[in-house]
Amino acid sequence: MNTTKSTDARTNSHRRTLKRQQTNQIATVVITGVAGLVVLPIILVILYIFINGIGAISWEFLTAKPRNGMTEGGIMPALLGTLLLTFGTGIVCIPLAIGAAIYLAEYAGDNRLTRWVRLAIVNLAGIPSIVYGLFGLGMFVLFLNFGTSIVAGSLTLGIMTLPVVISTAEEAILAVPQEFRVVSQSLGATRWQTIRHQVLPHAIPGIITGVILGLSRAAGETAPILFTVAAFYLPDLPQSVFDQTMALPYHLYVIATQVPGMPLEIQYGTALVLLLLVLSLTLIATVIRTNMRRRRDW
């Protein structure tokens, strides 16, 4: 009697263990499957655009102006415009972002001001891109009277890019061991000398990664440039920084939705060029970061 009871209990607990393990296995399979479901389309999306767009890409496509109501020819003015804007974004954003990152990593104390600065950065990161566009229109285009111009667009994109670059640059600076600073100070260096000669040289790869990531974001943005710089179609290239320019993301929007009878191949080709431009920047940033991690010897 006694023995039967304990055997029962044992089989019961055994059964429960089995059931738990079964649930575990099912859950693992489901989780793995869902993760695959999320990741696989990323590859498919890129492949899809690549396969459909690669036929349009030619030397002429990259270097010619659009012709015949944009249904023929190339995308050179838009490509050039995006490169110009990306460059301008860098000029606006890099000094300001690195300065802010140095401040946060090296100077900021644990006080109310620092908390406000961090809150401001979090908020900047969350402001919708179209609101940046409105701000650029209100401040740079109208108030400062730059007109719809490369300057206005670059300033808008530069400000939008700040939070990304600040946070990656700050991380890179914080990753430099505190010992370096202590030793530098003990040798009689001032704070700025320490930052300039000990901290920044070690942080620079990380900072560059952040800058490139930020610029790649800016290169692909459409909403902030809608009212600040982007032109539907321009027969001539911009002559000065106070001119409008065509830009690749907006050009894609225009030829996809605003121009009837647009050959599909040109649409896919434009999407592919934009995608490649942005992804190659991301790739460069990733390579720099991986190299940096491997080379770091502290």
């Binding site: 869902v34 999320v38 179209i130 209100g138 202590v182 320490t194 692909g220 459409t222």
Partner: protein, 325 residues
């Protein structure tokens, strides 16, 4: 420093470690000359520039948008007719449109994102993580206009086959948005899972829990506040998205009739309205001011979400430093 031989550097490091923590943290610096004073003030200025910029953004939105709220009775602003040409600025359809698309996106993206984060953080072997994380970063890097283009040209025809009159519907917008919000949700959820101390998992496994039980009953509850933050920032990301949404939601400024096929009706979001109409309005007209007014609302909504999420970061940070569950 990097020129020092490794052994010496290691010895230096142990030496420094023995110094009391405060001495290492608060180094006493001396200033040398005016150039450094200048550089340091520039750095401090750059530091507080973010505050100034947020302030300026809000000021300029107010400057152009305030007539909306002064000249139009509040009740009219929330009516359901958006006919700017006739002077009717009822924002209700736009608010509902943004709401439907955002909620739909989160419903799709949250489970997918959370489960992917669980896979990356708890199940995937190291080599898979090395591949998958950059891949998700790639998704975050794809310009929204490219995803919008895909939605317009590839996804919309599929949705049309589901029985919608056109493929440009709230559902199409939600799906594209969900995909765009995924990287945000995944990376923040993963951080939250990562912040759960390893001892918790070890403890659960040691008393015989399976891996799923550990995840379900130990890791997820401990990561709760971080997961809430992931949802909030995902919402913030989705509600502010413009171009992709404008391309695929059909842009009809009507309140969709409530029902089963609500998702298959075209809608128009707040962001898309600004993007689509700002190019055509006369500067200084009421329509122009109202579009800035919508911008003010978007600014306030995202600011509220992000400030709240920022506060959550603070609390989960405390927990990481060895607080209690």
């Amino acid at each position: 420093m990097s020129a020092l031989p490794v052994t010496l550097r290691k010895r230096l490091r142990t030496l420094v470690r023995d110094v009391p923590f405060d001495a290492v943290r608060n180094i006493q610096w001396s200033l040398l000359d005016w150039r450094e004073i200048l550089i340091e003030s520039l750095i401090r200025l750059a530091g507080i520039s973010s505050i100034i910029i947020v302030g300026m953004i809000f000021l300029f939105l107010l400057r152009e948008g305030i007539p909306t709220f002064l000249d139009i009775p509040l009740r009219q602003l929330f009516e359901s007719r958006w006919y700017p040409n006739e002077g009717l600025y009822g924002m209700w359809p736009l608010i509902v449109g943004s709401l439907i698309v955002t909620v739909g996106a989160i419903i799709v993206a949250l489970p997918l994102g959370l489960i992917t984060a669980i896979y990356l953080g708890e199940i995937a072997p190291e080599w898979q993580r090395e591949i998958l994380k950059p891949l998700i970063e790639v998704l975050a890097g794809i310009p929204s206009i490219v995803l919008g283009f895909l939605g317009w040209i590839a996804l919309a025809p599929l949705i049309q086959k589901l029985g919608a009159p056109t493929g440009l519907t709230a559902l199409t917008g939600s799906l594209i948005l969900a995909y765009m919000a995924l990287p945000t949700i995944i990376s923040i959820s993963e951080d939250a899972l990562y912040a759960v101390p390893k001892e918790y998992r070890d403890g659960a496994l040691a008393i015989g829990a399976t891996r799923w039980q550990t995840i379900r009953h130990v890791v997820l509850p401990a990561a709760r506040s971080g997961l809430v933050m992931a949802v909030m920032l995902g919402i913030g990301r989705a509600i502010g998205e413009t171009m992709a949404v404008m391309m695929v939601t059909g842009n009809a400024a009507f309140v969709p009739t409530f029902g089963a096929d609500m998702a298959l009706q075209p809608v128009r979001t707040m962001t898309a309205t600004i993007a689509a109409e700002m190019g055509e309005v006369a500067q200084g007209s009421m329509h122009y001011h109202v579009l800035f007014g919508i911008g003010i609302m978007l600014f306030l909504i995202t600011a509220a979400i992000n400030s709240l999420a920022g506060r959550l970061v603070g609390t989960s940070g405390n927990r990481r430093r060895g607080g209690q569950l």
